[in-house]
Amino acid sequence: MMGGTALMAWSVALPLIGAVLSLLVGRAGVRLVAGVASVATLIASSLVAWEVSTQGVLRQQLGGWGAPLGIEWRADGLAALMLLTIAVVGPLISVHALDHLGDREDREFLPLWLFIWCALNALVLSADAFNLYVTLELTTLGAVSLIVVRRDLPGLDAGLRYLLFALPGSLCYLLGIAFLYGAYATLDVGMLAQRVQSGPVTWVAAGLVTVGLCLKTPLFPLHVWLPPTYTGAPTPVTALLSALISKGSFYVLLRLWLEVFAPVLDAEVGQLLGLLGAVAVLWGSVLALSQTQLKRVVAYSSVAQIGYMFLVFPMATSGARAGVIYLVVSHAAAKASMFVAVGNIHQAVGITELGGVQGLAYRMPFTFLAMALGGISLIGIPPSGGFIAKWLLLNESIGTQQWWWALVLLGGSLLAAAYVFRILRGSFLPLPPGVTVRSIPLGNELAPLALALIALLLGLVPWFPLDLLAVGASR
C-alpha cells in the first residue's frame, strides 16, 4: 500500500500533523505528540531513502496535475540523503533542547521544530521553484521564532538580525524566479533546465537567485549576521541553524545551479563563487582563531565550512557534487555535536570562555569525546565524514586541473586544526580550582555523542551514502 511516492507525501505530512496536533494538545501532551510524530517521520524518511536506493528516482505530481500547472516532487539520491540527515540530526538536537531550555520554552520549541522539519523535508523533495520559496520562507520564520524562544535581549537581537538578512534574500530569490517564469513560462525545475538559454534574463535571474541564497546560507561577503545570531540564540537552536537550516538554502542553490544555470552560464561565474568560498574559508578560520568565547569560535568555523561548500561551483562535476553533499551531511552531524557539547559545558560550568573546557576530559567524558570527534570531522582527519568529503573534493580539484582549490582545502584544514585543537587542548589540563560542576542529565550528554558517532560512521562506511548519491546524479 505504501508506495515510494506515498511515503514521500507522508515524510512531509507527518511533521506538519505533529506540529498542528502538538499546538492543539496544549501544555499536557506536547512531548508525547511530538515524540510520536518524530518517530513516524524518521521511519517515513528512511523508507523513502530505501525506496530511492532500490528503485531509483521517485517522482510525484501533487494533486494529480502535470508539471507546468501543478507542483512536482523529485526524490533522487541527493534528496534521500538529505532526508535521512534531517531525520537523524534534527531529533537528536531536539532531545538535547528539551533539557537545555526551561519547561515553558520547550512547549514552543517542539511545534516550531516540527514545522521546520516539515519545511526542510518539503524543500528537499520539491522540484518547483516557487514552492522552494515558500519552504525557504517557512524555514526562516520558524528559525526566527526559535531564536527568540527565550525572550531575552540577545535572543531578540539575534532573531531580528537574522530576519532582516533572510528577508531580502528570499525576495531576491523570488524576483529571480519571477524573471525565470516571465521568460520560460514554467516554475518546474526540470522543465526550466530544458528551456533555459543564455540571455540577459537568465543572467540576471541567476545573479538574483545566487545573491539571495548566498544571503541566507550565508556566503562570505554577506555573512555578517551569522556570528551575532549564532551566539545570541540559545545553543540548541544554533545547532539547528548551523546544521540543518543553513543547509536548506545551500541545497536549493546547488540544485538550481547544477541543473539549471551551470550549462548556460560561462565558467567564470563559478570561479567567482569558488573564490568567495576560498576567502570565506580564510576569513572564518582566522577569526575563529582570534575568538575567546567558545560559541563564537564554533560560529566562525561555520563561516569557514560554508566556504568549502562553495568550492563545488567552479568544478561542477558529479564527483564534486558527491563531495560537497558529503561535506554538507558530515558538517551537519559534526557541527551539531560541537554546538550541543558547548551547550552542555555552558550548562554544567557556566563559563563561556575557552577556559570552560579545562579539565573537561575528566568530568564530562562523553561531551569531550563528542567535541573531539566533531572537531576531527571539521578538520577532515581520516576516521571521519569530513575526510571523505575533503578527499572527494581534492580528487576533483586535481582531476579538473584546478589545483588551487586543493590548496584552499589543505590550507583550510590546517587552520581548522589550529582552532579545533585550541579548544580541545585545555580539556587535558586538571580541573581549575573553584569551578563547581553541575551534573547534567545523561540524555544531554548522549545527544552530542550520538551526533559525533554519526560523523565518525560517515567516515567509516562511505560506500552506502555514495551509492545512494549516485542515484539520479545528473552528470
Binding site: A361, Y362, I376, I381, P382, P383, F387, I388, K390, W391, L394, N395, I398, G399, A406, L410, S413, L414, A417, F421, R425, F428, L429, P430, P462, W463, L466, D467, A470
Partner: protein
C-alpha cells in the same frame, strides 16, 4: 580463502581492548592489566601464525568496501610482517613496563586506551594494502599519539603537544596532497611488488612532485633533518610513551612508509630513473651526522637518546635509498635492530629516572654499583648502537657499508664511520662514568630485593638480551637478518 580474517583480527586484537579499556573505571586496575596482557599475547600468537603462513608462501588479505572505486585492503606480505613482529614483541614488553612505571598515577584507563589505539594504528600502517588505507592509519596514529604526549597535563606537556601537532598535521597535509595526486593519476594505488605506477611512468613531473610530497609528509614522522623538531620536544611524555612510540611505532612508521613508497608504489627502477634516490640519500646522510652531533651536546639523557634516534632512523632511509640489494637488507634489518636497542636504552633511562630521579647525563656517575643490571643492559645496547660486534647494530652497519660500496657511493662509508665514531662519542662516556667513577654521594640502597621493581627490570633485561640474540643468531633463518634477506629476495629484486 580461510585466512582473509587473519589480518583484520590482528588489527582488532588491539583496537577492541583499547575501546574496552576506555570504558573501564580508574580503579579496575586488575581487569585493565589482564586485558592488556591478554591482547598482547593474542597479537603475538596471531603474528606467529601469520609469519609461519607467509614463510610458507601463503597470501593473507582482507578487503573491506570503502569507496566505490577504492577499497580498504589489509594485506600481510613478508615486509609488513617484519614490522608487525617488531611491534608485537616490543608492545608486549612495553605494556609490562608501562604497568610498572605508571603504578599510582591517575588517568591510566585513558592512557592504556590510547596506547592500544596507537598500536592498532601501527598494525594498520604495517598491514595497509594500498596507499589510501596506509594514509588512514597514518593519520589515526597521529590522533592516538597526541593524547599520550600530553598525558601528564602539565603546561610543558601541552606546549610539546602543540609542537607535535604542528609538525605531524602539516606533514599529513603534504602526504595527503601527494596521495591525492597519485590517485588522480592512476585511480587506485595498490602496493604491488616492483611498483604500481608503471602505467603512468610518462607523467614525469607529476610523479616527481608526488614523490617529494610523499617523502616530505613521511619525513616528518621519520624525523628527517628539517622536520625532526618535534622528536626531542616530545620527550616530555612518560617513559613508556617515548620508549614504544618515539623509538619504535611513530618513527618506524615513517621509515616503513618511505620504504613502501619507494619499493611498492613507485618501484625501485622508476625512482632511480626519476633521479630522486640520490637527494634522498644525501638528506639521510645529513640527518645521520646532524643527529649524532646534536646528541653530543645534550645534557639530558632522554634528549640525547632522542637525537640518537633521529640519526639512527636515517640509517634505514639511507639503506633504502641506496640502489642495491645489500644496502636494502642493511636498511631493513636496522629497522628491527635499532628498535630493539633503542627501546632498551629508553627503558634504562626510565629506570634511572624512576628509581634514582636521575635525568642528566652528569648525574649518572657510578650508577653501575646501585643498579648493575640496568646499567649492564644500557651498556649492551649502547655498544650495539655504536656498532660493536656481536650485538645487532654491527650487522646492519656492516651491510649498509657493503651496500654503499656496491652502489658506488664510497662517501657513504665515510659517513657511516664518522657517525659510528660520534655514537661512541656520546655513549662511551656514559658507560664509563656509570661503571668506573664513584658517585658524588652514596646512592641510598634499594628498599626491596631487586634494584628496581621487577615489572621495570625484566623488560629492560629482556630487550637487551634480544638485541644480543639478534646479533649472535643473525645467520638463522628466522632471525631478523634472515627474514630481511627473505624480503629482499622475494620482493625487492632491483
Amino acid at each position: 580463502m580461510m585466512n582473509t580474517w587473519l589480518p583484520l583480527s590482528v588489527l582488532l586484537s588491539s583496537l577492541l581492548p583499547g575501546l574496552i579499556i576506555f570504558l573501564l573505571a580508574e580503579e579496575q586496575r586488575r581487569t585493565r592489566t589482564v586485558l592488556n596482557l591478554l591482547a598482547a599475547v593474542t597479537k603475538l600468537l596471531l603474528t606467529a601464525v601469520m609469519a609461519w603462513g607467509v614463510f610458507q608462501g601463503r597470501q593473507y588479505e582482507t578487503r573491506l568496501p570503502f569507496f566505490p572505486k577504492a577499497d580498504l585492503v589489509l594485506r600481510a606480505d613478508s615486509f609488513s610482517l617484519l614490522f608487525i613482529t617488531l611491534s608485537a614483541v616490543l608492545w608486549f614488553v612495553t605494556t609490562i613496563y608501562a604497568v610498572g612505571y605508571l603504578e599510582g598515577t591517575d588517568h591510566r584507563s585513558r592512557f592504556f586506551g590510547f596506547f592500544s589505539l596507537c598500536v592498532a594504528s601501527t598494525m594498520g600502517i604495517a598491514l595497509a594494502g594500498n596507499l589510501l588505507t596506509f594514509f588512514l592509519f597514518y593519520e589515526m596514529l597521529t590522533l592516538s599519539t597526541y593524547p599520550l604526549v600530553i598525558h601528564r597535563g602539565t603546561p610543558e606537556a601541552l606546549r610539546a603537544g602543540n609542537v607535535y601537532l604542528r609538525y605531524t598535521l602539516s606533514g599529513a597535509t603534504l602526504l595527503l596532497a601527494g596521495v591525492v595526486l597519485l590517485y588522480s593519476l592512476t585511480g587506485s594505488v595498490e602496493f604491488t611488488e616492483r611498483g604500481a605506477l608503471g602505467a603512468v611512468a610518462s607523467h614525469r613531473t607529476e610523479l616527481v612532485v608526488a614523490f617529494v610530497l610523499l617523502i616530505a609528509g613521511l619525513g616528518v614522522k621519520t624525523a628527517l633533518v628539517p622536520l625532526h623538531g618535534w622528536l626531542p620536544v616530545a620527550m616530555v611524555a612518560p617513559a613508556p610513551v617515548s620508549a614504544l612510540l618515539h623509538a619504535v611505532a611513530v618513527v618506524k612508521a615513517g621509515a616503513f612508509g618511505i620504504t613502501r613508497i619507494i619499493y611498492d608504489v613507485y618501484g625501485v627502477y622508476l625512482v632511480h630513473d626519476l633521479g630522486v634516490m640520490q637527494p634522498l640519500a644525501i638528506v639521510a646522510a645529513i640527518t645521520i651526522l646532524y643527529g649524532s652531533v646534536r646528541a653530543l651536546q645534550q645534557g639530558d639523557l632522554k634528549k640525547r637518546l632522542a637525537y640518537s634516534t633521529v640519526s639512527q632512523v636515517a640509517y634505514i632511509v639511507l639503506g633504502v635509498s641506496l640502489f642495491g640489494t645489500v644496502s636494502t637488507i642493511g636498511g631493513l634489518v636496522h629497522l628491527v635492530h635499532q628498535g630493539v636497542m633503542k627501546i632498551t636504552l629508553f627503558f634504562c633511562a626510565g629506570n634511572f629516572a624512576e628509581e634514582l630521579h636521575v635525568h642528566r647525563v652528569s648525574e649518572l656517575r657510578g650508577v653501575g654499583r646501585r643498579m648493575p643490571l640496568t646499567t649492564g643492559a644500557f651498556t649492551i645496547a649502547a655498544l650495539g648502537m655504536i656498532g660493536i660486534p656481536p650485538i645487532a647494530g654491527f650487522i646492519s652497519k656492516w651491510y649498509l657499508g657493503i651496500g654503499a660500496l656496491e652502489a658506488h657511493q664510497p662517501w657513504m662509508v665515510v659517513v657511516l664511520l664518522t657517525s659510528s665514531l660520534l655514537n661512541a662519542g656520546y655513549f662511551l662516556p656514559i658507560v664509563y662514568s656509570a661503571w668506573f667513577q664513584a658517585p658524588r654521594e652514596e646512592w641510598k640502597p634499594s628498599t626491596r630485593g631487586w634494584e628496581i621493581g621487577l615489572l621495570l627490570l625484566l623488560p629492560t633485561v629482556a630487550t637487551a638480551v634480544l638485541s644480543l640474540a639478534a646479533g649472535l643468531f643473525a645467520g638463522a633463518e628466522l632471525s631478523p637478518l634472515g627474514w630481511t634477506r627473505l624480503i629482499t629476495e622475494r620482493e625487492f629484486r632491483p
